[in-house]
Amino acid sequence: MMVEKRVGVTLAYVILATLSLVMVFPFFWMLLSSFKDASQIFETRVFPTRPTLDNYRLILLDGHSRFPRWFLNSAVVAVCTTASVLFFDSLLGYTLSKFSFPGKKIIFLLIISTLMIPTEMLVIPWYALSRAMKWGNTYWGVMFPGMISAFGVFLMRQFMSTIPNDLLDAARIDGMGELSIFVKIVMPLVTPALATLAIFNFIGNWNAFLWPLIVASKPRMFTLPVGLANFSGEAGSDWHLIMTGATVAMAPLIALFLVFQKQIVRGIAMTGLKG
C-alpha cells in the first residue's frame, strides 16, 4: 500500500514535470529566437551562437519602430478602463447588495445577461457608432466598450454582502454623504476583491484584440496586440524580429503575473466556484 502510493506520487511528479516543460517550451524558444540575428535564426542550433541585443534595440529604441507607441497605447487603454471598471463595478456591486429599491433584481439580471451577448455581434454596431461619433482612432473609441464589466459587478456584489450594515448606518448617523461613504468606507474594505478585479481587467484589456483591431486603423493608434499582428504580418521571414516583438508584448504581463500570482490564482479559482 505504502509502496504503491509512493510509486503513484513519483509518477505524478514525472508527468507534471514533463508537462510543465511542454508548457514553457514555447516561451523558451521565443526568448532564444529573440537573441538571434537574421542568419542564426535559420540555423538549427537551439542556443544562439552569438547572442545579440540588436533585435531589442531595433524594436524598442529605433526611431522608426512603432512598438514604444503601441506599448504606450496599450498601457493607457488598460489603465483607464481598469480604473473605470474598479469604480463603477464596485459602485454597482455595492448598490445591488446594500440598497433595497423596486426593480433591484431585474436590474441585476439584466446586467448579468449582457455576459451572453457575443462580442462578434456587438462590434458591428460599435463600429457604426464610432464612425458616426468620429471615435475611430481615438483612445476613447478603443476603450468605451470596456468601461464597465458585467462580470466584475457579479464579483463585487458577492464581496459587498460581507460588509456589516451597522458600519454603514453608523457613518450615516455621523452625517456622511452616501458617495463619501462609498469612497471612504466601502472601497477600502474590499481592497482584496478590487485587486483581483483590477489585475484581471488589466490583463484582459492589455490582451484584447478584436475590437482594437477594428476601431484603430492608423498605426499610431494600434494597441500592442494589433501592432504585433500587423508588424508580424509584414515582417515576412524576419522571425527573430517577430519573436522579439512577441517577447516585448508579453513581458509586462509576465512581470505582473509574478508579482500578483496569488490574486490571479485566487481570481481564477473564484470564477469557477461562484459559477
Partner: protein, 299 residues
Amino acid sequence: MTLAKKRAMTAYLFLAVPLVFFIGVRFGPMLYAMLRSLTDWSLLRKTNQFIGLSNFKAVLGDPVFLKALANTLKYAIVGAPIVIALSLGIALLLNRIARARGFFRLIYILPYITPIVAVSWVWRWMYQTPPLGILNAIFSALGLPAMEFLLSPNQALYSIVAVNIWVELGYCTTVFLAGIQTIPMDCIEAARIDGASSRQILFGIVLPLLMPITLFLMIMQGIQFLRIFTPVYNMSAQAMGGPLDSTKSAALYIYQEAFTKFELGRASAASLVLFAIIMAVTLAQLKLFDKKANGEVES
C-alpha cells in the same frame, strides 16, 4: 420623503450612469444589429432598404459560411472536451503531490495570461516546415516524418486547436483544483475506512462532486471555442482562415464580411446565426448534464 424612499433615490442615482452604459453599449447595439440584419446595410451604399430575411438566406446559402460553421463546431467539439479531460487529470495529479504544487500551477497558467496574438505567432514560428520549425526538427530527431501543420488543409485546424488547448489548460486546471480542495476530507477518509479503493473514491465521490464545476467549465470552454478568432486570424496566411478556408471560424467570417467587404447587414445576420448556435449548444449541455445528474441520484 421617508428614509426608505431617500435610500432608493440614492440607489437609482448610483445606477444611472451604469444603466446608460449597459443600454447604450450592450442592449442597444444588440437590438440594432438584429434590426439591421434585415436591411441591405453596407458602407459602400448610401441607401438602406428593408430586405426581409435575404441576408440570412444569403449567408446560409454561402458555402464559405457553412464551411466556417462546420469548422467552428469542429473547434468546439475537439477542443473543449480535451481541455476539460486534460485539466481534470492534471488537477487530480496536482492534488496528490505535496511539494511544488504552486510552482507547477504557476507554469500551467502562464499561457493563459499572455496575449494570444503573441503566443499565436510563437506557435506559428514553431510550426514552420523543415528546416525552420523547431517542432519538425524535434520530430526528425525522433525519426518521425515531417509535418506541414498550418500549411496543410487537414492539419491546420487541429494545429490551432492545440494552441488554444495549451492556452486554456491552466485556467481549467486551477478551477478544478480549487473545486477538489473544497471536497471535505472526512468524506473521503470515511469512505477509505469503509474499505473503498482509490478508484471507487475517485468515481464514486470526487467526480460526482465536481459535476457542477465540470458543467461550468464545459459551457465556458464551449463558448470560448465557438467564438475562436484571434488564433485563427494570426495563424493563417494573410489572416484569411486558410489554407482553403480550412481554419476559417464563424467569427472570422463575420469579421471579413463586416470589415473587409463592408457588408454590415450580412455580417449582422451571420453574427445572429453564431449567437443562436452558442445559445443552442449551451442549453443542450445544460440539459444533458441535468439529465445525467438526475440519473445518478435515481440509480
